[in-house]
Symmetry: C2
Subunit: 476 residues, 2 copies
């Protein structure tokens, strides 16, 4: 019965993309809903993806001089209120702890929605001299935001993430770190997750509460909607002034530090699903797949078949390989492996053994090929690389084919009514214009990309003089 | 100035052990107190130890068939109340969330003090058939217990840990898993942390709230006090009955599952400090040390010295090695390396370079030896192994020398008034006796060890007929 549920047809993407997404996260066993409203249970198949993300992102962090720490999960109300914009942005959506044990607290505390205030409070006591700078700290933790509507991975009341918080002696160094970490995210997405992104700066309206500037990587999902996939903020000395974080510089002057923060969350798993998945389920890029190869024995009760399957597993020790020796039929096993997005399937039966070969099937495009058993390791290595590259190329093609240009309001509206994807258009820079577009079309500015083009002289939305090229889109 | 604070003399262990401990955690920069009462900031040097613990313990878990997951951090009050003993044990010490954003919650929720109830709630919907068993899940997370008195690592309102939660078809399988995980903890402590432990079962009085049986590993600190370092609980089918977790067995009968849970926390870092540390600061076993070797250049401004130091670092790429090229004096650097517990120090100066040799100094016993540069890698490898083994041997000797035997109340009281350590003694098995001993002497039963001896026929505390040998001690 458990088998049946899994391989039962899922809703097709073209029929109902939102339902397809929900079917995949459930049937690939990534998450389960919990009885704690708005919170999810991340199951082994989902958490193993997060572990791979953590490991590979953390390696890149460490290579960039980042040190990991751990801050308390609670923020006293008075601390949250120290930076005006920040508290306005977050206070309406935090969970409040009011009692410890049987007693009411003297001051209520929220569960961290993000930890700028805690890091600032710590840095205030920890940083004294230019010798103490830079501080490049990060933590892996969970945070809570009291969202009204939730969706697995994309928006939930509690989610897992990392948050980096740095302090620097100069504005230039803070800006450099902000961009450096954005590039770490962008490279990670492309090289590991096979997700191409657009890099740019958020408008004033869309920037983080308390930031001087917010930078973002925006990815395009299969349905043409955008997903903000990682952000990096430059705070200037705003938080430092609110918290009084000063240091004695080489010139003996007391100065405020300049700060940054940057984060990526379990939300990115939603991006993996919606960029690569298809009507048979999940499709995982090999570099992030917890299992890269599933060996499925055919006629496994025949003598020597299972033994050969395990022998091949051992031979493929350089990769993450499993053997499905359950008592399900090969057909079920194929469907399961497809639903779970395992990049390669190796089929091995009595006839294959006799002929000294096996069949390999690619999850991403269904291609099958035969390989001699003594070339299996080499073939698997080559195919995994190819799948990884092909997934990135395909996603890049999709991004290009769904990025449009508009130079007038008519064009802008027509594209968003007929097509789905990013629209590049010139913008006047006025927040009122952005708000009008959002209210009337449900479209938001995703970013002002680093790679600017001069598409026209006037704002495509309102006709005023153009100041910046913006990527617009409907977003998750 | 920052240097001065660090290498300033710390309180000696013999003068005031508690103050020595506080000095070490502060001056080795493992933690900092935070403005969130009872919560600590784990700084890079402390968190790097926890990362090494996580990595190596998690490897052992995976080899034992454990899968990682993530459950919500909140427990609705009604869920916490489902198992009677469990709620009585934990309700008085949880933090309560009563508001989400601007609105009061319909039902208040606590921040998890431990997650039995959440796993049970999940398993209830997830387990249907014997095919779904066993479930061997674990999560790495933080938990909150509203303690009144707190000490860094040993007792804080929030701490990091892992908690394993399993479900099995039979009582025998649950018991087997309970013992298996206790052994994983014991082996990890001995092989990685160089901490020998006593394995045994907790008395009824000391067992976990809701458990049928609790097993523990108990370590002896340098001051002769015990530290409970890891626990493994067998719940039988108690939680399963409270939550209704049933499965259809092979015989088509509906049965309750049998469950276990097991945990190890950041508390174990307190054990590392108090087992191995000395009057110069922290002493880290090589297998857990974030930095295993610190290379300290002598006369580093002379041409070629720094270059040689970095060349040696590269040569030692198989180990975790740093070069201290700061502008502090070598003396300061030595003290810092000692305070931070880095197992080996390599000193390299112009004369050494000329002679093709360097000096290596062991942190654990201060021994210095010269080695030819072309044998450095081999020597460092050998020394790290030796330090690891010697630390375990020393800790084992300390445990043996501070484990006493009492066969009468006089002897029992005399030992606890004159000496410090474990006392092995026969016990009647009565909770009233245990309580009397705790009230009058401040001594608690640590465990009924697996390795039982028949020391006398009567209880050393009350004179009634003896039933079990118990390890007694004063505990953190």
């Amino acid at each position: 019965m458990a088998e049946k549920k899994l391989v039962e047809a899922i809703t097709s993407m073209s029929e109902d993309f939102a339902q397809w997404y929900t079917d995949v996260v459930k049937k690939a066993e990534l998450i389960d809903y919990s009885n704690v409203k708005g919170c999810m249970v991340i199951k082994p198949a989902g958490y193993a993806i997060w572990e791979n993300i953590q490991r590979q992102l953390d390696e890149r962090f460490k290579a960039a001089g980042v040190e990991n720490v751990y801050m308390p999960m609670f923020i006293p109300e008075s601390l949250l209120q120290k930076e005006k914009d920040h508290v306005e942005g977050f206070a309406p959506e935090v969970a409040w702890v009011t009692h410890g044990g049987l007693n009411p607290l003297q001051e209520r505390m929220c569960v961290r929605p993000t930890s700028e205030t805690l890091f600032c409070d710590f840095y205030k006591g920890d940083i004294h001299s230019y010798r103490d700078l830079p501080r490049v700290y990060n933590q892996w933790c969970s945070v809570v935001r009291w969202e009204k509507e939730t969706r697995p991975f994309l928006r939930s009341r509690e989610f897992l993430w990392q948050e980096g918080h740095t302090a620097h002696a100069t504005a230039a160094q803070a800006q450099e770190r902000t961009e450096q970490m954005l590039n770490v995210y962008a490279d990670f997405c492309e090289e590991v997750l096979a997700i191409p992104v657009v890099k740019g700066r958020k408008t004033e309206k869309e920037k983080f509460a308390g930031a001087e500037a917010t930078y973002t990587i925006e990815a395009l999902m299969h349905d043409g909607k955008a997903l903000q996939s990682g952000t990096s903020h430059n705070f200037g000395d705003g938080f430092a002034k609110a918290f009084g974080i000063q240091f004695t510089d080489r010139d003996n002057q007391l100065k405020y530090v300049h700060q940054t923060s940057w984060g990526m969350s379990t939300r990115i798993i939603g991006a993996i699903i919606m960029v690569h998945g298809d009507d048979s389920g999940l499709v995982l890029p090999p570099r992030i797949a917890p299992t890269q190869v599933m060996i499925i024995p055919i006629q496994q009760k025949k003598e020597g078949v299972l033994a050969k399957a395990f022998e091949l597993q051992e031979k493929l020790g350089a990769f993450r390989v499993k053997v499905d020796d359950s008592d399900k039929s090969p057909g079920w096993k194929f469907s399961e492996q497809e639903m779970r997005g395992i990049p390669l399937r190796v089929e091995i039966g009595p006839k294959d053994i006799e002929a000294g070969k096996c069949v390999i099937c690619r999850r991403d495009n269904g291609e099958k090929l035969e390989t001699a058993l003594d070339q299996l390791e080499e073939t698997v290595g080559r195919l995994l690389d190819q799948v990884q590259n092909d997934l990135l190329a395909k996603a890049r093609r999709h991004l290009e084919e769904h990025t449009f240009t508009a130079t007038s309001r008519e064009e802008f509206e027509q594209i968003f009514s007929e097509k789905s994807g990013f629209v590049k258009a010139m913008w006047c820079g006025e927040q009122s214009c952005e708000e009008e577009v959002k209210d009337s079309l449900g479209v938001t500015s995703r970013c002002m990309p680093f790679e600017q083009e001069q598409l026209s002289d006037t704002c495509a939305c309102c006709g005023r003089p153009a100041r910046k090229m913006v990527y617009w889109g409907k977003a998750y």
